[in-house]
């Protein structure tokens, strides 16, 4: 394919046809993905890692970084596959299968590259990477970007913002759970139940952002 055609195809919004860069819309996407429609607390995506890796602050930060990284790459891959491969060939009904395969192989690839070139980063993120394949936030952001008909630029912004929102919720939760260790919780509510209760209260706080636009 001609490189200029490829480039303009990448930058254009596929359906609305608007080529321009709209800062207002971009800010709205960022605010909406981090706060108003926070992936964990409002959209219920990525609950498993949210509960599983929020026991310590360090691992929460590691997991958050890994999710932002893979989410951005997965969005790039799924967007390209959808608009350059599935749409021209009329195979859009295969998108779910294609996206999950892209995500699974990307995670494998990132794991191998990190292991070879950056052992330090690998030892920090390594254990979280296999978990990410089944993190529904990653597939969720890929599907949402297609549903919302975002251009590649908006898709990437949305992915990074969604990752930041996920990390924010994870870090807040980890900080709270470290304090919860010392709290006098009724025996029946220890562990998961009280974690859900804390998540519910945080979710109420995030409801307050609903007025911010989006």
């Amino acid at each position: 394919m001609n490189p200029t055609v490829l480039l303009s195809a990448l930058l254009a919004t596929p359906d609305s046809g608007s080529q321009g860069f709209d800062l207002g819309k971009m800010m709205a996407i960022i605010i909406a993905s981090i706060f108003v429609n926070n992936f964990v607390l409002a959209r219920f995506l990525g609950i498993c890692p949210f509960l599983g890796v929020s026991k310590e602050l360090d691992s929460a930060i590691g997991m958050g970084a890994a999710v932002i990284f893979v989410m951005t790459l997965a969005t790039l891959g799924s967007w390209a596959a959808y608009h350059l491969l599935l749409v021209p060939m009329g195979l859009t009904y295969l998108s779910t299968i294609a996206f999950i395969l892209i995500i699974a192989s990307l995670v494998q690839l990132v794991e191998m590259i990190l292991q070879k070139f950056s052992p330090a980063l690998y030892s920090a993120l390594g254990i979280f990477l296999p978990l990410i394949t089944t993190n529904c936030a990653i597939l969720g952001v890929a599907v949402l970007n297609i549903d919302e008909k975002y251009s590649l630029g908006y898709s990437l912004v949305n992915a990074i913002a969604a990752g930041i929102g996920f990390t924010l919720a994870l870090i807040l939760m980890a900080g709270l759970r470290q304090r919860l260790e010392l709290a006098d919780v009724p025996p029946a509510m220890k562990g998961k139940p009280v974690a859900f209760l804390v998540a519910g209260i945080m979710s109420i706080a995030f409801l307050g952002f609903a007025g911010l636009g989006g």
Binding site: L41, A42, R43, F44, L45, G46, I47, C48, L51, Y93, L94, S95, T96, I97, F99, I100, L101, A104, T133, T134, N135, C136, L139, G140, V143, L144, D147, P186, P187, A188, M189, K190, K192, P193, V194, A195, F196, L197, A199, G200, I201, S203, I204, F206, L207
Partner: protein
């Protein structure tokens, strides 16, 4: 005999949601109404039965090194099937479940049953296990959805239960995102108490 056991364990003793705390994302997201919960339950149960059947059938053929990608492709195929059928025949339900239909692919219950049960058990047992787990998942969703719909909207399966006076001033938070977390936390706490009451038999 073991067939019955494989079937019943998913309903209470190893209930995927209340006891194993799996499959939380669709569980919390679609329980805003009993109708959505039933729709999601039916879709997930169908995918679970088909994937357990195929995984169990091919369990001696699939090389163990690439088994996870194989399972994911099997699951994704049936999810795509459900997605298309639901879009054609139940468009309203399809719209309200939205992105959570494709996300059945990454529902940990389904991959968990393929990896934890179907890949080392015969076909019939795997189907019994899938039906039991599917019913357990659906029941759990209906329980939470009943609370949320009743408190947040005054209805149950779209029937007006609490009257229009309540509907003017419902406990709206139950149907919003925080209500799912808070009600689930109480339900899990209740199951913990129930388990303690049964005594320290385990």
């Amino acid at each position: 005999m073991s067939l019955v056991k494989d079937f019943t364990k998913g309903i209470y003793r190893e209930n995927p949601v209340f006891r194993l705390v799996l499959g939380m994302c669709p569980f919390l997201a679609v329980t805003t109404s009993v109708e959505n919960a039933l729709g999601m339950g039916a879709a997930a149960t169908f995918v679970l039965i088909c994937s357990n059947f195929l995984v169990s059938l091919f369990r001696n053929i699939i090389p163990s090194k690439v088994r996870i990608p194989c399972y994911i492709v099997i699951i994704a195929t049936f999810v795509t099937l459900v997605d298309m059928v639901m879009n054609a025949y139940l468009p309203d339900l399809h719209r309200s479940l939205g992105i959570f239909i494709p996300l059945i692919v990454v529902n940990c219950i389904i991959l968990g049953r393929a990896e934890g049960f179907a890949n080392r058990n015969p076909v019939l047992n795997s189907i019994a296990d899938a039906v039991g787990m599917g019913i357990g998942f659906t029941m759990a969703m209906v329980v939470l959805a009943s609370f949320r719909e009743l408190l947040g909207n005054g209805t149950w399966l779209n029937f007006n239960v609490l009257g229009s006076a309540y509907q003017n001033q419902p406990l709206l938070i139950a149907i919003l995102a925080p209500g799912a977390f808070i009600l689930l936390s109480f339900i899990l706490g209740f199951f913990n108490i129930l388990e303690k009451r049964k005594g320290g038999r385990q």
